[in-house]
Symmetry: C2
DNA sequence: CTTTTTCTGTACCTGTAAGTCAAATAAATC
DNA sequence: GATTTATTTGACTTACAGGTACAGAAAAAG
């Protein structure tokens, strides 16, 4: 009962996510958010509570989307090494296609907040753990089929690949358009 | 002529660097800087011009120090692979020994500003280029002595190692103290 | 010792970040 | 259609960010 919302909260969260993603948390203002969402500041506070709560929702949305991308990638068919190559290539091309070079909201959040914010660090840490696990299971699969060397610790290689992904997202923020990110992917996969 | 400064500007820049390093640029206030430096806000503006100028000086100081570390590491003796391992291990141990988990100011700046600030992106980009070059020369050395595989593009491996270093600094910001960063170093060097 | 110049501390200023609140508005239920 | 409940708008508030201005202090030059 009562008046219905004049905007779609889910769509608003996606808009807010984009603003935080481009500018970071500290540089984003409630007024800027309200403008981007096309609503008044009062409506924003009524609907979401405040800047920080909206950030939590936006970050959560991003993390869930990333988790879904990872999960779908896990189910992809084909040789393990080529799956890894295409996944990393897709990541790089996505990052480079972004006119704002936003990188990755999870990585950006990790760097901006560090461990100062326990909540953010925990949420982002969960995605990192999940990503590492996803890599590990694929590497184990590759070792079982003989596609990958078996003398390496799959967990350690998984950590390395998580680190590779995080590094790519960070470097994508300041990339010049030289082929650096592509070289990273090429060398990483070639070494496996 | 005139009154001499009551504080050491060089030491003040180092103090300011630490504050920016811990908190990032946007979350740092002039008052907080003045307090950390132990001087009045008026002295800060008189000596450095403003928050942004002081940031430039602090970042420049950091970049020069990093460049010096890299240069000294280039001259180290011993087998290439062990030099790489010890360099990355040193990096990880340094990052993990930091009670504030500041990571790397260059990486933090790249992620915080992205390409929005041309000046910062350019300065940080120079260090990234220099680091990549340093890795490349060491890899070429290793390939020449037969310590490393010669079938790989040295430039691509150098890009990969730069990416590894950047990723380590980013992950160090939210590290839990599980051995993830050490696993990254182990797997990376083992694969070379 | 005086003068000149620079530094220091404090007060002050303007703008805006972040959030609150009351009145107006509109939808759903009876 | 009257009532109830929720949303919207926009004015309002507090606090602080970022910076300026000025008066006083102190060091070097003469």
């Amino acid at each position: 009962m009562g008046r219905a919302k004049q905007f779609d909260p889910e769509a608003a969260i996606v808009q807010a996510m984009d603003v935080f993603w481009r500018q970071g948390y500290a540089s984003t203002t409630p007024q800027g958010l309200a403008d981007a969402l096309g609503i008044g500041k009062g409506s924003l506070y009524n609907a979401f509570g405040g800047k920080r709560q909206l950030y939590d929702l936006a970050l959560q949305h991003y993390l869930e989307a990333q988790r879904a991308v990872l999960a779908s990638w896990l189910e992809a068919p084909g040789p393990v090494k080529e799956r890894l190559r295409s996944a990393l290539t897709f990541l790089v091309e996505t990052d480079l296609a972004d006119p704002h070079q936003r990188g990755c909201l999870a990585t950006n959040s990790a760097v901006e907040f560090g461990t100062a914010d326990k909540e953010v660090a925990s949420r982002v840490g969960n995605l990192f753990d999940y990503t590492e696990q996803a890599f590990a299971s694929v590497i184990i699969e590759g070792q079982a089929t003989g596609e990958l060397r078996s003398d390496l610790d799959a967990g350690a290689v998984a950590s390395m690949l998580l680190n590779t992904v995080t590094g790519l997202h960070a470097l994508a923020r300041v990339d010049h358009g030289d082929g650096r990110l592509q070289r990273v992917v090429g060398a990483t996969v070639d070494l496996l």
